[in-house]
Amino acid sequence: MTTWSSEGQPAPRLGTGQIALLPAESIEEASDQVRSSYRFSDPALSELPLEQLLDELLNRVQEALEVDTVAILLYDEEANQLVARAAKGIEEEVERGVRLPLGQGFAGRIAGERVAIFIADVDHADILNPILREKGIRSLLGIPLIVEGSLIGVLHVGSLTPRTFGQADLSVLQMAAARAGPAIERASLFAALEHEHRVSAALQRSLLPKRLVEVVGVEVAARYLPAREEVGGDWYDVMELPRGQVGVVIGDVVGHGIAAAALMGRLRTALHAYAIEGHGPGRTLELVDRFVQSISEPAMATAAYAVFDTYSSKVCYATAGHLPPIVISATGATALDITPAPPLGAFPYGRCPEHELTLGTDEMLFLYTDGLVERRGIPLNQGIDALTDALTGSPSPEAACVRAMAELVPDEGLQDDAAIVALQNSPVPAELHLRLPAQPKTLAHVRRVLRRWLAHHGADESDVAEVTIAVSEACANAIEHAYSPAPASFELDASCRNREITVAIRDEGRWRPPRGSNRGRGLSIMVAAMDDVQIDRTDTGTQVVMRRHLKPQ
């Protein structure tokens, strides 16, 4: 893989009558560039609306570089992802709403590192986008789209036969980018609210969570896919609950358009509020059902709510009129055989029973709405079977979402909107090596990580409680030592040998002797909770090493 830094090689910016030439290019290539510059500075382009401008630019790039594929992905700042916006040769990319994480894979690295990347011979391990793999693309060249210092997306071209892209090709791409970037930026300021579809799509987006939770030992990914014509009332939600639990929700309001999207927002909020109050899945859905009953307009919805306990690896879940959740394990993907409770709003005082299952390490729970599996004239079971087939072997929630979209979303787009959310019981590392910000709110995070790590090493409840408080106290000291105004951090390492755990906490601050009769308690707690506590203070920092034997299992 070759990368060009955007600083090292300034993009040729074409002013009136100017043609930027890069050094060490042959005359032939330079004259090619002259032709390209006309292609992209053509004043006729300015009159085109964004859709047609992008279409025309992609055509001209394809023609100029004689490539098989061209694609523009835009940067979605809130989700920190790239979203396919326009494509030639790989139109499916846009239809399927491909989303790629920043920082990984071909396009993700271009955006994340803001560099041009050329891959002469594509190793498919480097490519996250399933569509590029399906097409069998051999060589790729891509550049970041940057307007006034801000990343707005990625432009890339691909060839189905191995090919070397050179400086001249790069320059052509940069000219197209210089043209497309500001146009996209301008258009996105106006484009938002043109007709109902756009209004409700915007509403829908604003009602869905912006960021998923980050909890150690849990991986989560989710997608919302609007229908081709109209938005609907599908939603997903992910929430961090007390005591190391994570809740995932999927729901579907009956109906379409703004009304359905608005009701979806109310139901998502209601469910979220009941859930963080600590109600279990069954009770939470019952309370949302009462809420739906209380709404004056007739309303109905289906939903599933599952709570994953990171300490026990158990999932408690309940469904109201919703399609069965799918469990993805190493041996395959299976739809759970349960009878759902009635839909929300269907019958007064409906009861919603809870079910339980255990997720093994790496196993996933996959929730989805019917928009993903329902096809006119095809039995629903066949749709669910196609989904379980697609999900089999998915290594991660992100991969499960990508596969579900690749296999289930037809090229022409979905008839009905769809939402999916996948949660994985991800493995606990054998040892912890954490570098943490020296801020009080870090402590809660440390405790969550440590509790799960200790439980994984067979610590019982009192071992977990006592070690957690000792470590949290030591971390609190490290945070107190970091009294410089600059952002500071500290390190935590933990290991376990023969049921003896060792935790080391290192900071770069000066040890402060306890002040007052109460301030010494943190140290007393550490000494009382652990078998051995060593404190090593030097001019450069303080290291606390604590050991404790866990009780026999």
Binding site: M239, E240, L241, P242, R243, I276, P440, K441, L443, A444, R447, S462, A465, E466, T468, I469, A470, S472, E473, A476, I479, E480, N518, R519, R521, G522, S524, I525, A528, A529
Partner: protein, 122 residues
């Protein structure tokens, strides 16, 4: 998700402060200040209900002592509610400082203790 929370209720002669979730150096002082700030002068005392607390560290204990000292200065009592199975006992035991105030297992007991054990009162 907020880490810890405090819910204030006024009973006839006392303020009941119910702490929930995890109390550590990130929120202990704020919770302590909330309790003191909410306590009316005419209350006989404060019931600090720790039955909903999942985690309490030395910063939490420090703040409980601080609440007690502030109340004492105003001639008010502090009663703690700590049920037998509460993780707060772990912290108190490990810190080796005993109980930072009179302790009961339920809020009702605590309210009776604040309203005064003497029947001459009523």
């Amino acid at each position: 998700m907020s880490l810890g929370d405090v819910e204030i209720t006024l009973a006839s002669h006392a303020l009941i402060a119910r702490l929930t979730g995890e109390i550590d150096m990130s929120n202990a002082e704020e919770i302590g200040a909330t309790v003191i700030g909410a306590t009316p002068n005419e209350a006989s005392g404060v019931v600090l209900d720790l039955s909903g607390v999942d985690y309490l560290d030395s910063a939490g204990i420090y703040v409980v002592y601080g609440i007690r000292a502030s109340l004492q200065a105003r001639g008010q009592n502090l009663i703690l509610v700590i049920p037998p199975e509460s993780p707060v006992h772990d912290t108190l035991r490990l810190s080796g400082t005993g109980r930072p105030g009179e302790t009961t297992e339920t809020v009702d007991e605590a309210l009776r203790a604040i309203d005064g054990p003497s029947p001459a009162h009523g």
